[in-house]
Amino acid sequence: MSAWLGPDEWQAVALSLRVSVLATLLSLPLGILTAYALARWSFRGKQVLNGLVHLPLVLPPVVTGYILLLTFGRRGLIGGWLEDTFGLVLAFRWTGAVLAAAIMAFPLMVRAIRLAVEAVDPKLEDAAATLGASGPWVFATITLPLILPGIIAGAVLAFAKAMGEFGATITFVSNIPGETQTLPSAVYAFLQVPGGEASAMRLVVLSVIIALAAVLASELLARRVTSRTSRR
């Protein structure tokens, strides 16, 4: 792979994979919690939360990136606090790319998982409770296994979205080779320089392969899980 790809190109691919995997895995617990809350709980501000979750889907990515820069930048409210307390800097760092990718992918993840939660019959959870299972046990032994196909679908969608994230990422963390230059940023950069088309083309082909592989893998996983957990 690295023989076929130039070192710059490889760097961008590796960074993108790392950013996307981390963005997906780190946001998954919050994604499941949010999806469950939106599907099952009734609380004040539920519509506000729903709107906030979906905001990145409807806002121009550049706007999302700029908002991230304002809040998570070194002088931003949260960014400053993160740096003072944990020494964690997000702006113009690859860690910031993870945050940008996670936020942009979050609505897709939550939507997929929420659909799965809504498909679980609450009567099954009642039945588990009458058999002695407390709330957390019901979730771990009944709800979670039954929504697993939805979680996988949501994670794959989020991963694919994170791999392709461009607008918010380039606004928030710029396009620094080796630090924040993800695959789409690299394609963009190669297209800006004369003679970069060959590199760009190789990355485009690779993007297609990764995206296809992700979709196929999720289909297989979901099929294996559903064959174990089919509804009727």
């Binding site: 009642d126 409770a129 058999l131």
Partner: protein, 361 residues
């Protein structure tokens, strides 16, 4: 082991005010749809919280609005069998059955093998719930509830979603459960046949109130019950003992008021049974009839006569220590000049008694 319920619940369209005790055996909560049966059983399970009242199992309060007690369902140790079995689709039959065991701190009451034998589900253990028939699913659901070491079993119309053949398949298992374990059962049903076959205590609900309540034999042989059951379903249950099986396919049963000949039952001689005799299947005769095809002619005494809304009269009869109901026309009652205290003969066709109406006791 007994359950006491005294609850009130008020919604915009419905008011529920119910109090009863469920002693050992099967307590049937009987009534048409919309009378509050499921609300009551869900309140006992903790899936619904009543406005006011108290629910206690052996003086341990599960719910007490005055003292602010409301145990969550998972701490009530009640096994609940739902109408729609609710097996967990992602777990095998075996793991469905053992699901409740890990949460129970009780000493295991029955082992997996015992429950499988009781319910005839040993061959299903490695199957997936979706591959089971309706009757099998319901038996697994009963086993799952049993294996969670419940102090009491709650059953909400467990046979309602099954066809007649599947019902007949499961009823004997429920009888075994009643007769071979000491776990009390609260059984919700709108089927008189099921109640007559299983119940030891009957609570009849009507529009959110207890309309009748007492031992099954007494409630079902009360002429007033016709109002709730309808004239075609009304009928008394008689305790009987199998005397012997005859070569011509008939079984002879001993009851307190004489002998009954019925189409062959499976029960062995000596077995205690209960027989439901529909009021409309009983003919009354002043003299002992001769030259009649009916095999069962029992001397009985008229206890009460109750006029129906139509041309019929319900006659309650003493038959030995037990009670029978007969439904005859007003015209016949007048012609026979029936009055309380008269001794007459009750005529019952053997073949009018369906095998479904003969159960163990």
């Amino acid at each position: 082991m007994s359950l006491s319920v005294d609850i009130q619940q008020q919604t915009a369209h419905f008011s529920l005010q119910v109090a009863f005790d469920a002693p050992a055996g099967v307590t049937a909560l009987f009534g048409r749809s919309g009378t509050g049966k499921t609300t009551v059983i869900n309140a006992v399970a903790g899936l619904m919280t009543p406005d006011r009242g108290r629910i206690a199992l052996n003086d341990t309060p599960l719910f007490d609005s005055e003292r602010g007690v409301n145990l969550p369902p998972h701490r009530r140790a009640l096994g609940y069998v739902f109408q729609d079995s609710r097996l967990f689709p992602h777990l095998s039959v075996r793991r469905n059955l053992t699901y409740g065991q890990r949460f129970s701190s009780q000493r295991p009451g029955a082992t997996l093998a015992e429950v499988c034998a009781l319910l005839g589900i040993a061959d299903l253990l490695d199957r997936a719930p979706d591959s089971l028939s309706g009757g099998e699913r319901q038996r697994v659901a009963i086993g799952r509830a049993l294996l969670s070491c419940p102090k009491m079993l709650l059953m909400d119309e467990p046979l309602a979603s099954l066809d007649t053949a599947r019902k007949a398949e499961i009823l004997p298992y429920l009888e075994r459960l009643r007769d071979n374990t000491d776990i009390p059962i609260l059984y919700v049903s709108h089927s008189v046949a099921e109640v007559a076959r299983l119940a030891t205590t009957v609570v009849v609900l009507e529009a959110g109130r207890v309309a009748r309540y007492g031992p099954a034999e007494r409630v079902l042989s009360d002429p007033e019950i016709v109002r709730q059951l309808g004239v075609r379903e009304a009928g008394a249950i008689l305790p009987a003992t199998v005397a012997k099986h005859h070569d011509d396919g008939l079984s002879e049963l001993t009851i307190s008021g004489g002998r009954l000949f019925l189409p062959g039952t499976d029960a062995a001689p000596g077995q205690r049974t209960r027989v439901r005799i529909l009021a409309q299947d009983v003919i009354l005769s002043l003299d002992r009839p001769e030259g009649l095809s009916a095999l069962n002619i029992l001397p009985v005494t008229v206890m009460t006569l109750r006029d129906g809304s139509g041309p019929g009269v319900i006659v309650q009869l003493a038959c030995g220590d037990d009670r029978l109901l007969a439904r005859i026309t007003r015209r016949s009652a007048d012609r026979m000049k029936l009055s309380v205290g008269d001794t007459v003969h009750a005529v019952i066709k053997s073949v009018s008694i369906s095998p479904v109406d003969i159960g163990t006791s």
